[in-house]
Symmetry: C2
Subunit: 546 residues, 2 copies
């Protein structure tokens, strides 16, 4: 049997090595049009900033290593230019010699990845405008920075890569501007969860939201970025990170089924519409594990694990790829933000029955030094208790909670079951009630109708018809409050019930939502209509400082 | 309705506050024989060492707070001395006045905790011998340390509390000896997983294993600890941390059903054999979530969450407590060790069908700075793929992986499903194949019979009948190897197959087990009987340095 693999990075390299481990017999040809196989894409920004000092560390596995250890026929600088499905062969251009030749296959694997978007804006081809996708891009950026002794940078796009590059350019000492046409950074997050990241970014970087690039011009030795709103930004370098386009041209020309956004369609075995052709990675669309809808998730994890699964299936297993959750994480200066599953925006768009909760637990026991609050959001189905998605932002312990919640989603754990999961607790690591347990408790309380909540963005619609009740201490209130709120500290609430208007709905808030939940329980049992402000003052004020 | 709660710390305090949130009507009496309710037991060692500088931080919730915020009738220094089940009342001694009085109940909750074991050894009552269970113990230890200007300490017992106290006394500048009668520290771990902790401890502390205390004598101003093997250890202070005994005397005298080890027996609703009496925390036995066997797990998490559940059930819900996993964690100097579910010892004792794997992945992507290896062990049922338990030791990322695996166990995720869980990946946090995914892959490979493994402690039984094959580089081998092993580096294996004896079983090893797995796959396909040494040289050498 002969397996031909197009693309030698994450997905492709995994097909090759797993196939070899399964069979010493099979012939494996790995074709990579670039000069490197199996490099660490996700590390590229960190070499630009110097955090990863040694470039060689980015070469996870070399072609020579794959040949020696795995007896794989690796051919770098060999580009597949056409698939001949009826002949079961591909045409290949040797980019060194220019020669074109054919290679037959029993199974063909497409791991062609994606290309950075370069919109046809005026000036887009000016020198000094870069994308960051591979080692050559990275080398080009570093050379340019050195050559121009760059002091200023403009980054178009405030997504994951844009922010990672922004952080690293700041680390190199550049003055950086990030511009994004959305009203928030990091679109996989909901606005109020991305807001703390925006605040953190603004401490170090010039951030422009709700505005996009209109054109680029040369201005002396610098590039000028003209925005749609007419701002003019000067930079010694421009980095585009406004998204990627799946590389599915080979598949399209070969007549394989493509999805709406041009992604290669695969079934749960990662097989394309041609049973001898498989596809994996950034160029495919997969069914999201929670929504079941087709999604194109350009992340390393699913690509690597999908590659392994394709090798299994080619070599006689019949394994199903469980859909991705889109779990993702980013460190931005002192903060970490991570998410898994669906965000609230998607729940709304897809009209799913859901409730969202916000909480602000400590990363570990509050009585032990260096506990940091985590802003945690959880979406769940209030009928079934199914967890739909989660987001978290904070200085510490964010990755752990999102990984636990991703695992809970994968295991079909309900919010009520979250309450009882035994998680690590010693003062430096957690709490007797871990943030994940707390999320389960808060969600269960809503599911059991012990309390109703209202979100920060629902407040404006009801304001005027309701009484806002602040149950914090005077000290906390003096540091900031929601305007026009009545103030009764929680310890006084039972004795001051007569001050609560009985004919209006009360919306209670405290700092994080816990004391106002207690207040709601008291009020509800005294026949006061009442709702708890989800995430309370912390979430409300975070959302307002974007 | 009137709820009387015996014991005001973790379990008891949670019953009280949850009950109040559920009902403003119910009368709640919280009886605590000590001076403090709801203090942070788990923080006590850290105040001794000064990491938690402010003693007040240990008072999580005060009696006054419980009265004010929750309208709870808190009575500190009130000890319940007898339960009169037929009358549904308890006799209480007011420890301040000496007065004895009665209090009726509709529901009684026992959250009586456990007492440190003090074996009847000669000299056990000498001044300067302490246990650490509550604030008074902690205050006594600190006073004694100050009074005696203590420079040396002997700690009997190398469990969680013993090691935490040892670390903190070392932090205070004392010269510390830990003595434990077991051949390893931290019995919830298997020997080879506790071994790195022992090595870490030995860097700072005098550690004596496989020996116990025979007697204590006064030696001038110091205490002398005489061991069973005849060693004599001098200390200005002695801390006993050899375990706890459930405080179930009230329950026993009242005729409630007790388990073998004297724990209060409760059903899945946490109800005792008397339907009006409930019990929670360190004094009860619960069914272990994996084994289903009765266990007494003295940990804060189940106590807190169990308390909440009792309040639910008293107030009309019918919620089942999902058994504990015994998830636990400890930081010992620069290392962290954590575990969940069953260890291998228990799997053996209970004669469960299981396989154990060892791996040594990095805490995050190896190409990003400060990645640290994690020693990870996973037990699973090779037929069903059910995860039975896990243990991990390392400098970073240990808590996250054990929490994820605890959640996987709770969600019934099989080892094969572990492969596909989408976990956080960016270079500072993880890898495209997270350690948890890798554990799933390695276990699945065994389940699918792609390879057989042998454990470090199985090696001695077969040695002589097998060929040990080291597939590492010469450089690695020169730093340490398993004696009498053949050396063929993996890249040369295919071309040197003729050097492998065909009539003997080969046991392959490398540094962590990954390359030797590749070697096994090559050998097996060339008709060589072959096994992979689980965890390879790293696990084998760790186990030998206990």
């Amino acid at each position: 049997m002969k397996i031909v693999i197009v693309g030698g990075v994450a997905g492709g390299a995994n097909v090759a090595t797993r196939a070899r481990r399964l069979s010493e017999e099979v012939e494996i040809v790995l074709l990579e049009r670039g000069p490197n196989v199996s490099f660490a894409n996700c590390g590229l920004p960190y070499h630009i900033g110097g955090e990863i000092a040694d470039r060689k560390k980015l070469l996870v596995q070399t072609a020579e290593g794959l040949r020696q250890l795995f007896n794989i026929d690796v051919r770098e600088l060999n580009e597949v230019i056409e698939i001949h499905r009826s002949k079961k062969c591909v045409s290949i251009r040797n980019l060194s010699s220019g020669e074109i030749y054919e290679e037959t296959y029993d199974h063909l694997v497409l791991s062609t990845g994606a290309t950075p978007l370069r919109p046809a804006l005026p000036g887009i081809d000016l020198p000094g405008i870069f994308s960051l996708r591979d080692l050559a891009d990275m080398d080009g950026i570093i050379s340019w920075l050195d050559l121009k002794k760059a002091k200023t940078a403009v980054i178009a796009g405030g997504g994951f890569i844009g922010l990672e590059v922004a952080e690293q350019l700041h680390r190199r000492g550049l003055s950086v501007t990030v511009i994004d046409s959305n009203e928030q950074l990091l679109m996989p997050f909901d606005l109020e969860m991305s807001a703390p990241i925006a605040a953190e970014v603004r401490e170090k970087i010039n951030l422009i939201l709700s505005d996009g690039v209109k054109e680029f011009t040369q201005s002396g030795d610098q590039l000028e970025v003209v925005t749609r709103k007419g701002e003019k930004l000067l930079g010694d370098i421009v980095i585009l990170s406004i998204g990627v386009r799946p590389e599915s041209e080979l598949a399209r020309v070969a007549g394989l089924e493509l999805g709406e956004r041009g992604c290669v369609v695969v079934d749960k075995f990662l097989q394309t519409s041609d049973p001898n052709i498989w596809a994996v990675g950034d160029s495919v669309e997969l069914k999201h594990r929670v929504s079941g809808k087709a999604v194109n998730i350009a992340l390393a994890g699913p690509a690597n694990r999908g590659g392994r699964l394709i090798a299994d299936n080619i070599l006689g297993k019949r394994r199903e790829f469980r859909g991705p959750l889109g779990t993702a994480i980013i460190r931005v200066f002192g903060l970490t933000a991570a998410c898994t599953g669906l965000n609230e925006r998607t729940c709304r768009i897809q009209d799913l029955p859901y409730k969202a909760i916000h909480l602000h637990p400590n990363s570990h026991a509050g009585y032990y030094p260096n506990a940091h609050p985590i802003a945690l959001k959880l979406m769940f189905n209030p009928t079934s208790g199914q967890i739909l998605g989660a987001q978290a932002v904070g200085e510490d312990g964010v990755d752990k909670r999102i990984d636990v919640l991703a695992t809970a989603i994968a295991g079909g754990i309900t919010v009520e079951e979250l309450v009882d999961i035994d998680l690590c607790y010693a003062p430096p690591f957690g709490s007797a009630k871990d943030p994940v347990n707390l999320a389960g408790m808060i969600a269960s309380n809503i599911q059991e109708e012990l309390v109703e909540t209202i979100s920060w963005d629902g407040l404006s619609a009801v304001k005027g018809d309701v009484v806002l009740l602040d149950v914090r201490s005077k000290l906390e209130r003096d540091k900031g409050m929601i305007p026009d709120s009545l103030h009764i500290p929680l310890p006084e609430l039972r004795s001051r019930l007569n001050e609560i208007p009985k004919d209006q709905t009360v919306i209670a808030y405290c700092q994080s939502g816990q004391r106002s939940y207690n207040a709601c329980r008291i009020l509800l049992q005294n026949d006061v209509r009442c709702m708890n402000l989800s995430g309370a003052y912390k979430t409300w004020s975070a959302a307002r400082i974007t």
